[in-house]
């Protein structure tokens, strides 16, 4: 169930980590570059309230995708509750700030912690019971559906179907289009830094080891269970924080803000496109997808058809995602891709 | 009946058996002997269609079956019993036997013949295959193979995991089948038993055929005796 399957699944998931370690300045530099490019967006669409809203949502999804990437891409845990965990952060922060009266920062922190703990718990249960990928997926899916129903059902607290207005944060910079965009961008950059640093650390090494061959990793002394839960804790914290921040920025939350169909499905497609397991894959996927979605908005429901076709094409042909595929094409250094043995022909 | 010419096969690009040729004529009982790792299982799996060939040709009853998948090969009169048997554990003896005749209905005559040959099976028709002992499972595996009324019966190490007494009775049964005119091909590590029941044999060593000859010839060959019969 575990090791070889995970390795077999890895070819599907595209976590090719044959690259040599990047130096720190290169890491920060590339993140800064991405951040700088994204920072230019308000110059382009800043005047349109609607488009800025779309841009902010796009960045929120980039955050979600990074979090999911950390959990699924790094340690192979199929968490089908991305939206729900973001919802714990979102509804949590909103309710704590509005009903309980906590200051915004504290509410956000507590909600993030809550999401992190829930994610960690789910991971811990799956690990303890040695649940395979599919079962873990179903258990997390059940959590996602339960959360959605809980929110719908406890309508006195959560506003049910209609959702609630988030008064916390109104009147602050969070509600100003451009400022809100940069706050969200800040989160994206921060998450990228965290993920980037993790990958270069011993934690990242452990992740790669357990993803390639779980049994071998265990034998090499990697406590697979512990690293899985770590990844879940950090990734879920990211989801909760992003979800909470979005709630404060958007000013209202409802079940569809964090629903399975609205969030999880989209995040999976984004990540599949960008490249599961890579650093910038989630961001690329989110940007392209948000752009595409906006472009096709007139098609209404037909968009779903387009995305379905895209998913099929993605997983049939460009299996590892855009970034690994591009990296494979571009990289010519011997040793970074399976090619002729050393001493063989120079790949040029 | 069966002609194997220049067959090579293996796993993940590297061949375990190389350029192997042998034949089995109608009515004969032929054995392939060799120690562990010699390549007997790989060879049989390749010949019967469970493993792709990297080179060579297999002809059965005049038809070229090279590369044909096993589910089609067995419909042409060949029945293969691998070492792991692959019975259906949650089905009864009766059901396992019935499936042996697939896609036809089980022929009552053949069924009776099989049960005569293996009375233990007759006693346990309703027992689940997964709950039977090793020897009984082997009987059932051979019985299932016989239900298709094959022209050629191929057995890969039928005595795997069997106690000596049981192994001997297995070969007694094989002897009876041979007397009825069935053509049999067996791969075996337990050489003395196999030599006693067969007409001809081939010795497989490190993926290639070393010696060949009639069974009496092989039994008295000093190389065979020292390597496989434990005679100094």
């Amino acid at each position: 169930m575990s090791g070889r399957a995970l390795a077999a699944g890895t070819s599907l998931v595209g976590g090719a980590e044959a690259r040599t370690s990047r130096s720190l300045p290169l890491l920060f530099g590339s993140i800064a570059a991405v951040g700088a490019v994204l920072a230019l967006v308000p110059l382009w669409v800043g005047s349109s309230r609607v488009l800025m809203g779309v841009a902010v949502l796009g960045l929120a999804f980039a955050c979600y995708a990074i979090g999911f990437n950390l959990i699924f891409g790094s340690t192979g845990q199929l968490f089908l509750c991305v939206g729900a965990l973001a919802g714990v952060g979102g509804y949590g922060a909103a309710l704590l700030a509005d009903r309980v009266g906590m200051p915004i920062v504290a509410a956000l922190a507590v909600a993030t912690l809550g999401a992190s703990l829930v994610g960690g718990l789910l991971s811990w249960v799956a690990v303890r019971r040695s649940l395979g990928v599919i079962f873990a997926g179903i258990v997390t899916l059940i959590f996602a559906l339960s959360f959605e129903n809980l929110v719908l059902g406890a309508s006195t607290i959560t506003g049910g179907d209609a959702g609630i207005q988030v008064s916390a944060g109104s009147g602050t910079f969070l509600r100003q289009r451009t400022a809100a965009y940069y706050v969200m961008l800040g989160l994206v950059v921060a998450f990228l830094v965290v993920h980037g640093l993790l990958r270069r650390s011993h934690v990242g090494w452990a992740f790669r080891a357990l993803r390639d061959d779980e049994v071998a990793a265990e034998l090499a002394g990697v406590d697979v269970a512990r690293y899985r839960v770590y990844a879940a804790l950090v990734g879920s914290a990211m989801l909760g924080l992003a979800g909470g921040m979005y709630a404060l920025i958007a000013g209202r939350v409802s079940p569809t803000t964090y629903g399975f169909a609205q969030v999880d499905v989209v995040v999976i497609v984004m990540l599949a496109f960008g490249g599961i397991g890579t650093l910038f894959g989630p961001v690329l996927g989110a940007v392209v997808f948000t752009f595409l979605d906006e472009l096709l908005i007139d098609l209404g429901q037909l968009r779903l058809l387009a995305y379905g076709a895209l998913v099929i094409v993605l997983f049939l042909w460009i299996r590892r995602g855009v970034i690994p595929t591009l990296a494979g094409l571009v990289s010519r250094r011997p040793g970074t891709r399976p090619g002729p043995p050393p001493g063989g022909e120079e790949p040029g | 009946m069966l002609e194997v010419e220049g067959v090579s096969a293996g796993y993940q690009g590297s061949d375990v058996v190389r350029d192997v040729s042998f034949r089995v004529d109608e009515g004969e009982t032929v054995i392939i002997i060799g120690s562990n790792g010699a390549g007997k299982t790989t060879l049989f799996r390749a010949v019967c269609g469970l493993l792709p060939l990297s080179a060579g040709r297999v002809t059965f009853l005049g038809e070229d079956i090279t590369g044909m998948p096993v589910q089609r090969v067995v419909r042409r009169g060949l029945a293969f019993v691998p070492a792991e048997r692959h019975l259906f554990p949650h089905m009864t003896v009766e059901e396992n036997l019935a499936l042996g005749a697939y896609p036809d209905r089980p022929d009552p005559e053949i069924r009776n013949t099989v049960l005569e040959l293996f009375p233990r099976l007759a006693e346990r028709l309703r027992q689940l295959a997964g709950t039977m002992s090793g020897g009984e499972q082997q009987m059932l595996a051979v019985g299932r193979a016989l239900m298709s009324h094959p022209r050629l019966l191929v057995l890969d190490e039928p005595t795997t995991g069997l106690a000596p007494i049981v192994a001997r009775s297995a070969y007694t049964a094989l002897g009876r089948l041979r007397d009825r005119g069935l053509t049999i091909l067996v791969a075996e590590q337990q050489v003395p038993l196999a030599l006693a029941v067969s007409d001809r044999g081939y010795v497989l060593e490190n993926g290639a055929i070393g010696l060949t000859g009639t069974s009496p010839e092989l039994a008295s060959d000093p190389r065979v005796r020292s390597a496989y019969l434990g005679v100094i």
């Binding site: 059940i142 779903l304 995305y307 | 949650h90």
Partner: protein, 285 residues
């Protein structure tokens, strides 16, 4: 209380058929078909459209079932082919993702072309009184049809050569090839069967409550949960789990609200999976 239990049984039987289609495909080929709910919806839609065009109910329903079967066949011949080239967990994952894509394609098209359609078969007749409870004719007929289907499935797998062949592939694929069975052919047949079962779900469900075009994903998720609780690959497990979960859902609904009872159902399912991943009657590998 009796009323809820009877309702639960009606619901549970449908859960069972829903899960049976999914579990068969998984048990035989190690493939999870996430487009299952959409196949059910399309069957229902075809039934509806042909009825609107004037066809009487029974032929329309049969046509719906045929459509389901055809969709299953198409799925097998197209996107499942690359899936079969992999094995183990990689196969399940790929099947999950590709069928999810297919589900999007179908769902997107249906919702765009027929956004407000829903199949609702009204069965005429006075309510029957069973165990002191008035049961609507629709529920009764739906249950009878489901029971007949269960009977047919049982007979098929227990007593026919074909059914035995299918079971043999599930129990030992290499063994089945050794007796001349082609697992790919069996898989294709089962996929057609599962499509027909999806159609049965849509049609019987529509006798109790409307089945609208958006129901695809909820049907699939529900089926998946019942399947896993019953044990992947076990048909009897699917029906047992279906009944248990159906009754739990129904009884809980009548005493607590809909949402809370759904949560209880979900949690019960999760607990079962965690405690016993093989499911209630799972076929152990």
């Amino acid at each position: 209380m009796t009323a809820s239990i009877l309702d639960g049984i009606v619901l549970g039987l449908q859960f069972g058929v829903l899960a049976a289609g999914l579990t068969l495909v998984y048990g035989l080929g190690g493939v999870l078909n996430l487009a299952y709910g959409q196949i059910a919806v399309v069957s229902g839609l075809v039934t509806l459209l042909t009825m609107e065009a004037g066809l009487p109910a029974v032929p329309a329903a049969l046509l719906g079932l045929v459509t389901g079967g055809v969709l299953g066949l198409v799925l097998d011949m197209t996107i499942l082919q690359p899936v079969y080239r992999r094995s183990g967990e990689a196969r399940v994952l790929l099947s999950l993702l590709l069928t999810l894509g297919a589900a999007f394609v179908i769902d997107g098209y249906l919702n765009w072309r027929y956004p407000l359609k829903g199949l609702n078969l009204r069965i005429s007749g006075e309510p029957l009184v069973i165990f002191g409870v008035r049961m609507r004719m629709g529920s009764v007929v739906a249950s009878i049809i489901t029971l007949v289907v269960i009977g047919v499935l049982y007979w098929l797998f227990r007593y026919t050569r074909l059914g035995r062949a299918v079971r043999s592939v599930i129990q030992d694929e290499e063994g089945s090839r050794l007796v001349g069975i082609d697992p790919q052919v069996m898989m294709r047949l089962i996929l057609v069967l599962s499509g027909v079962l999806a159609g049965v779900v849509a049609i019987t469900r529509s006798m109790v409550a409307p089945v609208n075009v958006r129901a695809g994903f909820s049907l699939t998720v529900l089926g998946l949960i019942v399947t896993v609780v019953g044990g992947l690959g076990s048909i009897s497990g699917a029906f047992l789990a279906g009944l248990v979960l159906g009754i739990i859902n129904s009884v809980a609904s009548s005493y607590i609200g809909t949402f809370l009872s759904l949560i209880i159902l979900l949690v019960a399912a999760a607990v079962t999976i965690v405690i016993r991943p093989a499911g209630l009657l799972g076929v152990r590998e």
